[in-house]
């Protein structure tokens, strides 16, 4: 539980990054959301055995994290945190798909291994793009921009509240588990019955807490509308950013950049 708690408080580090100032931070949140969506679409649209052609896409997170002053170490930490999910999705591929697809020298590579690595690469690309969006925009602005794109207000409010409650719930949960630990003898894990009761209490406490936070929001004039910290203003830099990224993504997706680059390198060196 301590580890979960530490991981959750880590999530807060993104907020700190979002309050920085950089050319990426100054872009309109809508531009960044649009580009992130295009990026995700490009990544998932590659065929399942594709690896090499996706490589140039790493340029996007690399440039964004450099210009947006998001330390690679922070990104890596979050990626590691989420990696079990991706591993779980792909881990059976090598067992199920044993057909040899390519030969790398004397090494016969099966389709399963290729698709497994392909999933991992997609995971790194998509998750880092989403993290960079948050780290360079801020959670409230992302939610407000989603609203502007026509996402239901109820949904974006839930995103916002979810984000706030992660911290409060993890606090509450760690206090309950500690209280249990102190009265249950050393190292004994809670039984299923106790877990049920703990979870039930957590739900009820969360509900009460939700009512109180709602009251506090109403007391400060909340009427269901989100107001982002920076007013949305679309400038030419935003259009340029979207157009540039769209061009890059189209080039990588349809222009066989990796293949041509490889052929060119071979020609030059050979």
């Amino acid at each position: 539980m301590v580890r979960i708690h530490a991981a959750v408080s880590d999530v807060g580090a993104l907020d700190g990054l979002a309050s920085q100032d950089s050319p990426i931070h100054r872009l309109d949140p809508r531009a960044k959301i649009a580009v992130t969506a295009m990026f995700l679409a490009a990544v998932v649209s590659f065929p399942k055995y594709e690896i090499a052609e996706m490589m140039p896409l790493f340029l996007y997170p690399a440039v964004l994290s450099a210009v947006g002053q998001v330390p690679a170490k922070t990104l890596l930490r979050y990626l590691l945190l989420a990696s079990p999910f991706a591993l779980l999705v792909g881990v059976f591929n090598p067992l199920l798909d044993r057909e040899v697809v390519v030969h790398w020298g004397s090494w016969a590579v099966t389709g399963g291994w290729l698709s497994f690595f392909s999933i991992l690469i997609r995971f790194v690309l998509t998750v880092s793009a989403a993290l960079l969006l948050l780290a360079c925009t801020g959670y409230v602005s992302v939610c407000a921009a989603l609203n502007r794109f026509g996402a239901p207000r109820l949904l974006t409010m839930q995103f916002l509240m979810l984000y706030r409650f992660i911290f409060i719930l993890s606090d509450e949960a760690s206090r309950m588990v500690r209280a249990h630990g102190l009265r249950s003898g050393s190292g004994r894990k809670p039984t299923l019955r106790v877990w049920g009761s703990l979870a039930g209490h957590l739900l009820l406490r969360a509900y009460d807490r939700g009512l109180r936070v709602h009251a506090a929001m109403l007391a400060r004039g909340f009427d269901g509308t989100l107001h982002p910290p920076r007013a949305f203003r679309w400038r030419w830099a935003d259009s340029l950013f979207v157009a540039g990224c769209a061009l890059f993504l189209a080039l990588v997706r349809f222009g066989h950049v990796a293949e041509r680059l490889g052929a060119w390198v071979l020609r030059v060196s050979g």
Binding site: S9, G12, D15, G16, A18, S19, G138, Y139, V140, M161, Y163, R164, F167, I168, D171, R209, R212, V213, A215, A216, M217, L218, A219, R220, G221, F222, D223, T225, H227, P229, A231
Partner: protein, 259 residues
């Protein structure tokens, strides 16, 4: 300046589960007054405060803030003039940073960005918390959270400040600082608390609630010195009026800070 007046008449409230919380509460608080609301646990203090900003609406009786009764229609106006500081600052601070939290109210009032910025700065200055501005609320200490929570209420430029247990959970130094701060505010103040010494110092007038009814409403100096009355309400003399176990003397009335 009639908009600073709080008038409660025959207020009754029963919780949805049937628990009666308020039974015929009436009082009138004038402009600039500081009033302490005290009572044992479950006396109805918090419920009463939630009625003052319309988070709960009266089932019977009326609550008037200035010229307006608290009804569903007047809520936006009421909430602009009544600033509420809740008992647990964790309930009040829900945005990613202190700055955004303090700006939450002014932004809901649809003020232009410059005005929002000015209000954020002034409110944080008022509670000596400018340095907390970029910090996430969940990383603050108890005292810092309390200051930030008060700033979130101040940023709405309220006429009336309603506070629920503002000194609970604070260390002695933080408590003293908070009392000094509250003493400087010129707002109409309504403070519910078990901290009778704080009430003694900040509020010239005290209302005692007992089982949902007002059993006394009078000058703090006499109300909080009446041991028998306090005992009947589940309370005890403020520490400063109790006999010192070491020297056998009482500290006596503290210098009052009326703001």
């Amino acid at each position: 300046m009639s908009h600073h007046i709080v008038e409660v008449r025959g207020l009754e409230y029963v919780y949805p589960d049937g628990t009666p919380a308020l039974r015929g509460v009436s009082f009138r608080i004038e402009h600039g007054e500081s009033v302490g609301i005290v009572g044992a646990n479950g006396a109805g203090k918090s419920t009463l405060l939630l009625q003052l900003n319309g988070c709960l609406l009266a089932k019977k009786g009326t609550v008037r803030i200035g010229d307006f009764p608290v009804t569903r229609e007047t809520l936006p106006r009421i909430r602009r003039s009544v600033g509420t500081v809740f008992q647990d600052p964790n309930d009040q601070l829900f945005m990613p940073t202190v700055e955004e939290d303090v700006a939450f109210g002014p932004r809901n009032m649809r003020l232009p960005p410059d005005d929002v910025e000015q209000r954020v700065r002034r409110s944080l200055e008022a509670v000596n918390a400018v340095h907390l501005r970029p910090r996430p609320p969940y990383r603050l200490s108890g005292g810092e959270k309390r200051s930030a929570a008060i700033a979130t209420a101040l940023s709405m430029s309220p006429d009336i400040l309603v506070m629920d247990e503002p000194t609970s959970g604070l260390d002695p130094q933080a408590r003293r600082k908070l009392m000094d701060l509250l003493g400087r505010f010129t707002h109409t103040k309504i403070i519910a608390s078990h901290d009778l010494d704080m009430i003694l110092r900040l509020c010239p007038r005290t209302i005692i609630l007992h089982q949902g009814s007002v059993i006394v409403d009078g000058p703090t100096a006499s109300v909080l010195a009446d041991r028998e009355l306090l005992a009947r309400s589940g309370l005890d003399l403020p520490l400063s009026l109790q006999v010192c176990p070491v020297c056998g003397k009482t500290a006596g009335m503290p210098p009052r800070n009326d703001g």
